[in-house]
Subunit: 141 residues, 2 copies
DNA sequence: CTTGACCTTCCAGCGACTGGAAGCACTACA
DNA sequence: TGTAGTGCTTCCAGTCGCTGGAAGGTCAAG
């Protein structure tokens, strides 16, 4: 399929897809007319790239993760090591995101515009202290 | 406190902290000697910036989120609208991260290096199809 | 056979840092 | 009091990851 279709299906702009090719993340075939020709597997990779980039993984990290797919003949231990390191990082990110979510939920639920000027809600946003103590500033007692 | 201490406590490089000041995310006081002087609240903001940037939020999004803290006199409806929009995005990110984690867990648990060349593990990584069907390629069943 | 959408390459610019130079401020220690 | 060392300052340049735009080739429709 052409790059436009791949872009649509992956959620990435065509510009970005060409850039990913330029830096060696992906090598689509070329049609006789010189157009890039993406396979379903390419689109899978692109979708994966879109997801993991938007979640804060660097292009180099994405390259490593993609290598789990591409380098079928590498040592199983390597694959596991990479995947496990990423797992730990994902778990950390999950915890941080959950913290952010809880704080914002609390903010939505408890703030009515009557905030005092130094409400320590940011304590929660910054991941310090616990949610309930930050909550105290808005519960109006 | 000086920028070095703030850097240490926030997890951000001093360079980045100065850059955040330059683009107006933060305005620390200045000591008589011209050194930047960070308050505990500043460090909270920096920690928050460190977290949310690493989770894939843009600087502009972070600016909005910080405004929940800074613009105490803004309409409560505004605050809620911003927070709720971010909540939806965070929930989406949480779901995607959880998907990524589950796939990698499966990879760690089930791949022994005997993969066939087009194992569709990437289907799961790309967020398409469900985990169990991707799992089938490795379960050797 | 032209219009318009889509593709190509190339080059420039932007967002978000990051590194390094040149120089001032502070602490410590002879 | 001098001086070494560390940390701070500004400024400028470079990098990473895109992103926009120009100039031009390709293709399906009317």
């Amino acid at each position: 399929m052409n790059i436009g279709t791949a872009a649509e299906r992956s959620g990435l702009p065509a510009k970005t897809i060409r850039y990913y090719e330029e830096i060696g993340l992906l090598k689509p075939d070329r049609s006789d007319n010189g157009y890039r020709d993406y396979s379903a597997a390419d689109v899978h990779k692109l979708r994966f790239l879109q997801r993991s980039r938007s979640l804060g993984f660097s292009v180099e990290e994405c390259r490593q993760l993609l290598s789990l797919y591409d380098d079928q003949e590498r040592e199983s231990a390597d694959v596991k090591a990479i995947a496990q390191a990423k797992l730990a990082e994902i778990d950390r990110k999950l915890a941080e995101l959950a913290g952010l979510r809880d704080m914002l939920r609390h903010l939505v639920a408890n703030c009515h515009g009557d905030d005092r000027p130094d409400c320590p809600i940011i304590d929660g946003l910054s991941g310090e202290g616990d949610l309930r103590s930050a909550a105290a500033c808005h519960g109006k007692g």
